[in-house]
Symmetry: C2
Subunit: 551 residues, 2 copies
């Protein structure tokens, strides 16, 4: 028996570098296109693999060892793409940083991760100079730039990416597939962001299932425009999925405008583009302004927030198939994806649309889902409850144990989302128990706003909730119970908050209430507040002002 | 450092039963349709999961333990589908037997695998009765039939499948993903077939990559007709891939005629059908005869042998996209799949077809390929050599060590195929070093024929080679160097071979030659013989007779 217990298949680990090796071998000249102010730079997967190996060799020479964390503070460029492979490829961990985070959060995150190298785009130098004095572990600052793009002066000792590249004789090493690969911090309900640490196994498995016919399902004839930032949940894994498929990958560089996005869709024959709703809204405005269309685009992926019905109609008006999904950093990140069924196809147009897009799509194997009611029973089909997940691409905990033990006795992870499995077998997210506000694809912690608000004079109690917003999908709305002594003003509170919060975290409005509703367990009942005040920004002048300011 | 070496993702194994659990949860009513003489039987994935768990419980009650081998001798039916999940799901090994093998081979295989249970379709009772007296390990014979379909008399003590099913409270157990899952014997160059023993890990990983957008890429709107037998390399993994996708699976039962296939394509809204070239030839004949079309069919997968150019034209005439691939049991089994590229799409029609179908398609991640020249150097693009493969879904050896150590020092497995990577990054199989004849999708060992031939009076030397055949793609042709004393006749040799070979292994013709060409190392040079005599059956009357006999 003992010789028969295991299958007789090769013991080969699933490693990230093998994705690029595959693309280099079988799609050597399929392009990675990287836009910058200087124009579009392009090379094939074979050249990309050579550059990634040169990076790995160069980082090794700098002293980077397996397990070290290497931070990137960068937009979607070819060098960031190279780091996506080079760093995990040599056994180190790529830690993607979101440049839009508050400085204090970035300092916390880099120190918490003990990043030893920080690679950043030249336009982020000012931010890095602000961070640097407080960073405790960073030994090297590498600018992701050509030699002639290097900043002339800086208080920091800067290395140029092109100078650190080593020889091309680096061979990707083999190691345990459970080795840590990429690290991404995500906002929690309270306090500082927490790190999700993927393994090579989870990253590669996720890329395989994200490339399923029921998800991205790319082919070599696809050209993918990655508008979603690569620091957002591994760029929704598309830098890896494209390599499996041998698909073209188009990287729009720093802060692409809607005009740039439309230009690239036409110039690079883009068939799939991805973005949060705000990005798509901008694209539609640009199309109207310029009287253009979406040309070669076949599929438009709207993610990061629920796809508004008007958005899917507009995509379809332009001949583009709308697709959406649900995910989170902790899921690697994709959990579900739009996919039709024979039952849905049999409906008439309106009902078909509602059935197809009334959910966040079908759950992707091997993700397991359970929907739990408050009483501990499992919810039946169509009944909403707390969503728990399990699987080889789901986090078992956060980096360095932050947040404590998360899994239940059977190994399930609480997503913080509330939802149901609908009659078509798809998952619908109906609410969230995790108390966050999602503004233009970025998470804002209501707890952070509340903590800052209660430090303002005249504030007895404060609750920040997500209010629907025509441009940002959601913006924070602050509800304040005034103290008995001092009646504060809206302006005074907003002014006081400016010292404590980043500009984009500031509430769009402040409303005064006599009391805050509470749940049975005495917590502020955010659900009641969201129901009552959810449309406040849409109905009020405040939102119009925000739009005019172009925030 | 040590706490940081591994990613913080859940330690969940990849297990076959989870594929069915996924389909049962999210595609509960998507159908598995099983044709029998009594008509089509249909149920949803949820019911299929219940039946598979009842099977697992029942087999446990019969004494089946983890690691035991359970043989199936069955066509494509719902019960065979259930066994595909039930047996590996409980930790045992499903051993699929090819009923078309020679009795002596079946006996050898069952005894070699030490199968403890044999599950078989009722129409194969006579074969099982022939085998039974020589089977050393089989303790239970289970007929895959309803109670009223049970044979009335048999020398064997037969169990009815429906009687052995247990309760539906069986819960799929969790165990190491490297545990053996399915076992399939494959013909080698010499002697008896050898067993390929997959693991849960390799089977699930293979299903994930076979479901990639560059391979099957199924969606829930697909309906898959599985014409390829489930005992042929795990039914090309489609019973597993369909579960991931939530696609409908249509099983045509015992010996479907071309008329049945066309009927089912229409009745079950089939979008993808799979078969060896011989099957498709029959379908085209049926379509001409009945003046029908292929209705809902979108893709026609031609596998098992190279797709003849005329076949892809005829598929396209019927509005069906031809797809093909390359694989072998040792690869789990899919190695490549037709997929276009922008370069191919830019060609004009004729050149496009040649580029797309001149190869066996694009190599599928995570399969690694190296093409080696005779001098030990790696072949460049476009240059043919021996194909070696490596990956987590590739065999490391055969069951019980048959064939010895196969892998080279770097862990590569020799496929026995000769081929190249073409200018579009696709793999083209140009020849094979493994000396087999592929007749209608079944392998025939030339070594077996040669061994039998040299035992015939008057035969000094014998070489069996594959000759092209209008119906079977290839049939064996025997070349004989007569002995000096006795000049044998064609008829005498064929007659003598009948006692030593199964009917379908018999050469279609015998030719006498003065000598056989040899290679530099003194081996018979089959390549020269195939070049010289490859068209003999097409040019000779022998093939017409075979066709008329309907063999």
């Amino acid at each position: 028996m003992s010789d028969l217990a295991f299958g007789l298949m090769q013991d080969r680990p699933l490693l990230i570098a093998s994705l690029l090796t595959h693309a280099a071998r079988f799609s050597p000249s399929r392009e990675i296109v990287s836009r910058s102010a200087a124009g579009a730079r392009r090379y094939g997967y074979r050249a990309g693999d050579v550059r990634a190996r040169k990076w790995a060799k160069g980082l090794q020479r700098l002293g980077v060892r397996p397990g070290d964390r290497i931070a990137s503070l960068a937009w979607n460029t070819h060098r960031h793409f190279e780091l996506f492979y080079a760093v995990p490829g040599l056994g180190a961990v790529l830690h993607t940083l979101n440049p839009r985070l508050w400085t204090e959060q970035l300092v916390y995150i880099v120190n918490h991760a003990e990043d030893s190298v920080l690679c950043f785009d030249p336009d982020l130098l000012e931010l890095v100079e602000q961070l640097a004095p407080q960073l405790q572990s960073v030994r090297h600052f590498i600018v992701l730039a050509d030699r002639d793009e290097m900043p002339n002066t800086s208080a920091l000792d800067l290395l140029c990416a092109e100078d650190i590249l080593g020889d091309d004789d680096f061979v990707w090493p083999s190691f345990d597939e459970r080795t840590a690969s990429v690290l991404c911090y995500t906002s929690g309900t309270t306090g500082m962001p927490k790190g999700v640490l993927c393994s090579h196994r989870s990253t590669v498995l996720h890329a395989l299932y994200a490339q399923s016919g029921v998800a991205f399902g790319l082919t070599p004839t696809d050209s993918v425009l990655l508008v979603v930032p690569m620091f957002h949940a591994y760029g929704w894994s598309l830098p890896y999925v494209c390599a499996i498929a041998g698909a073209k990958l188009v990287l729009p560089g720093a802060a692409p405008t809607a005009q740039t996005i439309v230009d690239m869709i036409h110039a690079e024959a883009v068939t799939l583009s991805s973005g949060v709703p705000t990005v798509w809204t901008g694209v539609f405005d640009e199309l109207e302004r310029s009287k253009r269309d979406l040309g070669p685009l076949k599929r438009g992926l709207v993610g990061g927030s629920a796809m508004p019905p008007a958005m899917r109609r507009r995509l379809r008006d332009y001949g583009v198939e709308p697709v959406t999904g649900w995910g989170m950093t902790e899921l690697s990140p994709l959990g579900s994806f739009t996919s039709s069924t024979p039952e849905i196809e049999a409906l008439d147009d309106g009902a078909r649309d509602q059935a197809l897009y009334g959910s966040a799509g079908r759950v992707l194997y091997p993700l397991e889902i359970k929907v739990m009611l408050a009483d501990g029973a499992e919810a039946g089909p169509g009944v909403a409850g707390d969503i728990w997940v399990r699987g080889p691409c789901v986090a078992s905990g956060y980096f360095r144990g932050e947040g404590g033990a998360l899994l239940d006795a059977d190994g399930w992870f609480p997503t913080g989302d509330v939802g149901l499995i609908d009659e078509y077998g798809a998952i619908a997210i109906t609410d969230r128990s995790k108390d966050l506000i999602k503004s233009g694809g970025e998470w804002i912690s209501s707890a952070d706003i509340e903590k800052a608000a209660t430090e303002c004079p005249g504030v007895a109690q404060a609750a920040a909730v997500a209010a629907r917003h025509p441009k940002w999908q959601e913006r924070p709305l602050l509800l304040v119970v005034p103290s008995r002594n001092v009646m504060p003003t809206r302006e005074a509170i907003l002014h006081a908050l400016q010292a404590r919060l980043a500009k984009w975290q500031l509430p769009d409005d402040v409303l005064f209430v006599d009391e805050l509703p509470v749940t049975a367990t005495g917590k502020i009942d955010k659900k009641v507040l969201r129901n009552r005040f959810g449309d406040h920004l849409i109905n009020s002048k405040a939102s119009e002002e925000t739009l005019r300011e172009g925030r």
